[in-house]
Amino acid sequence: MIDTSTMTPKSPAGSPPDTPAVQVRALRYRWPGRANELTFPDLTLARGEHLFVHGPSGTGKSTFLSLLAGMLLPSGGELQVLGRTLTTERAGRRDQFRADHLGVIFQQFNLVPYLSALGNVTLPCRLSKTRLARTTPSLEAAAEALLEQLAIPGSHRHHSVQNLSIGQQQRVAAARALIGAPELILADEPTSALDADNRDRFLDLLLGMAAERRSSVIFVSHDRALARHFHHQLGLGGQP
């Protein structure tokens, strides 16, 4: 039902370093207790490039991201992220890899409810020395600067994230994904709860700031209208 799809190359931005950001060959995954196996198209994404992944529900978009993040192990195929073969590494190493090199944004409920906006943004740097080292001049200052760029009012930064609007919550999540300039950002339909204006503004901000940091972005959505913002697109579930 799912087979290899095409990758439509657009203008690549920046020159890729030695290894690609993501390399996928004949990747498969079977959810425990399910008969059918999900298969994923082959893919090579250069560093700093932005990929749009689309496909209807049930085609394994979130599963694909879980595999890339090293949170699930594939039942077959090859997977390399930033030159590392995650499938053979131990769980603890995969967790640390994720902390050091990946930024993540979910569809919704992106924030730890009991931390402030600032606390949520700085969380990855408290889990990773690598990312902490990349924040300049200090962690607090870097977080404040990101929130400033993403237009989160100063009055909201130190308070509970419960009072933020959905759009603001998603932008705080984007700041958390961007802090410490991770090499790869994984976004799972982060704009699906936003209206058209907010959605475009969010995408522009996210992709613009990712480009500044030379972070690759893999962005999953069922809304194909967004594809124009990205260098490449990839369809799951046999879509072109």
């Binding site: 959810w31 399910r34 529900s57 049930g58 085609t59 394994g60 978009k61 979130s62 599963t63 991201l65 879980s66 993040a69 949170m71 699930l72 769980a91 603890g92 967790d95 640390q96 890899f97 994720r98 902390a99 050091d100 990946l102 993540v104 979910f106 569809q107 409920f109 992106n110 924030l111 730890v112 409810p113 009991y114 931390l115 606390g119 969380l123 990855p124 408290r126 889990l127 990773s128 020395k129 958390r176 994984l186 799972d188």
Partner: protein, 425 residues
């Protein structure tokens, strides 16, 4: 190190975020720990005050009987003597060069349910309790006149008696007596300070007064015409034929066992001599079963509240799936996430312990004067002893064990968690 700091700060923020629910659980835990600790504390104090009911007395001598019986009727005013001991035996004890002092006591009458103890001034001078504390008169003086009576603090307080009042003693024990010694009313000469011992619950008269009261009572009731009036009584001198028991103080405590053996084997009269300390600890062992049961029950109350805490944490677990997903996706290990539950649980237990100690200390500080005033029971505020620290330390340890329940289940589920909440699609 930074991981520990992160886990601590996340756990603290998480507890604060859920403070409304957790405050109630913490309150339950605080109350149950306070109960446990309070029972242990009061238990220690009661044992302390119980074993110091009598002090400085080397031997108690009475008619031959079991040592508990002798202890109960002489010290605790519970039960009755099986027999008396002769006045000549008492005199022989007084003359014994090894014996420093003898307090004779004669029992049998009562005043509105309180025992009447007939004795002499040796009782006031020699009787000791607690840590070598002697009897002190709160007001008045020790009896000098034939018809003087000295009241224990508890009697004076409960019956609201003042110095100089006249009271009538009753024949035999019991709260309501139909045979009163109303031909010889007594005048209250003194009132003792509270001691927190059975001394507070008795009235004291002279041995001579005891004799005077009972002239004409040989058949058990006062025969009119044979009993003495006050003027008749004052014209006579009285020497008792017998006393009920005697407290002995030896010149050299090392001779205690020797004197005890001699008295127990006395040919002149069947006597029992007991060591009050030994008898007291035997009595405590008998009663100790109850307080141990009480302590066990309160320990179960603590376990129950800890299980309640675990239940609440498990319920919260459902709400925390998103949060766990976020933490996992940002690279937190399942161990870090599981440790949040353990830290929260142990943290709450520690807070509950601190609150329980503060609550308990406050409560004791407030009720301690009232207890001493009303019941003559002294409950001083003191530092915790080793056993109490042990009980207190067991609470966070138990909390740690209880927290393993939600921690392990979170650890297992978060290991298999995928992107987002882990739903396929």
């Amino acid at each position: 190190m930074s991981r520990v700091k992160l886990a601590l700060s996340l756990a603290a923020a998480s507890v604060w975020y859920r403070r409304r629910v957790l405050a109630l659980v913490c309150l339950t835990l605080t109350l149950s720990v306070a109960l446990l600790l309070g029972i242990q504390y009061v238990r220690t104090e009661i044992r302390q005050s119980f074993t110091s009911t009598i002090n400085g007395t080397d031997l108690i001598v009475g008619a031959r009987s079991g040592q508990l019986n002798l202890l109960l009727y002489t010290v605790f005013h519970i039960g009755d003597a099986t027999n008396n001991i002769r006045w000549s035996t008492y005199q022989a004890l007084e003359d014994d060069p090894r014996i420093d002092w003898v307090i004779p006591i004669s029992l049998g009458d009562s005043y509105r349910g309180y025992r009447v103890v007939a004795t002499n001034d040796q009782f006031y001078q020699r009787f000791q309790f607690g840590n070598d504390r002697s009897l002190v008169l709160a007001e008045g003086k020790w009896f000098g006149d034939l018809l003087d009576v000295v009241l224990g603090a508890g009697v004076a307080q409960r019956l609201d008696h003042q110095l100089g009042e006249e009271i009538v003693l009753s024949h035999g024990g019991g709260r309501i007596s139909f045979a009163n010694h109303d031909q010889l009313p007594f005048r209250i000469a003194g009132i003792l300070e509270p001691t927190g011992t059975p001394v507070d619950q008795a009235v004291y008269i002279s041995l001579a007064a005891m004799e005077a009261m009972h002239v004409g009572w040989e058949s058990g009731v006062g025969l009119p015409g044979r009993t003495l009036s006050e003027t008749e009584a004052r014209q006579r001198t009285f020497t008792p034929e017998a006393i009920t028991a005697a407290f002995l103080g030896l010149k050299q405590p090392v001779l205690t066992f020797q004197v005890q053996r001699e008295l127990n084997q006395s040919r002149a009269e069947p006597l029992s001599a007991i060591l009050p300390g030994v008898a007291l600890s035997e009595l405590w062992r008998t009663m100790g079963q109850f307080e141990r049961a009480l302590l066990a029950i309160s320990a179960f109350v603590v376990v129950t509240s800890l299980v309640g805490l675990a239940a609440v944490l498990l319920t919260l677990q459902a709400q925390r799936q998103r949060e766990v997903a976020i933490l996992r996706a940002t690279g937190a290990s399942p161990g870090l996430i599981a440790s949040l539950y353990t830290l929260e649980c142990v943290g709450l237990a520690l807070v509950a312990c601190v609150l329980a100690v503060v609550l308990g200390a406050g409560l004791i500080a407030v009720i301690s004067p009232w207890l001493l005033e009303t019941y003559g029971f002294s409950l001083p505020l003191r530092g915790l002893d080793a056993a109490e620290w042990g009980l207190l330390a067991a609470v966070p340890v138990a909390a740690l064990l209880v927290s393993l329940l939600p921690a392990l289940s979170t650890w297992r589920s978060s290991r298999r968690l995928g992107f987002g909440a882990g739903d396929p699609g």
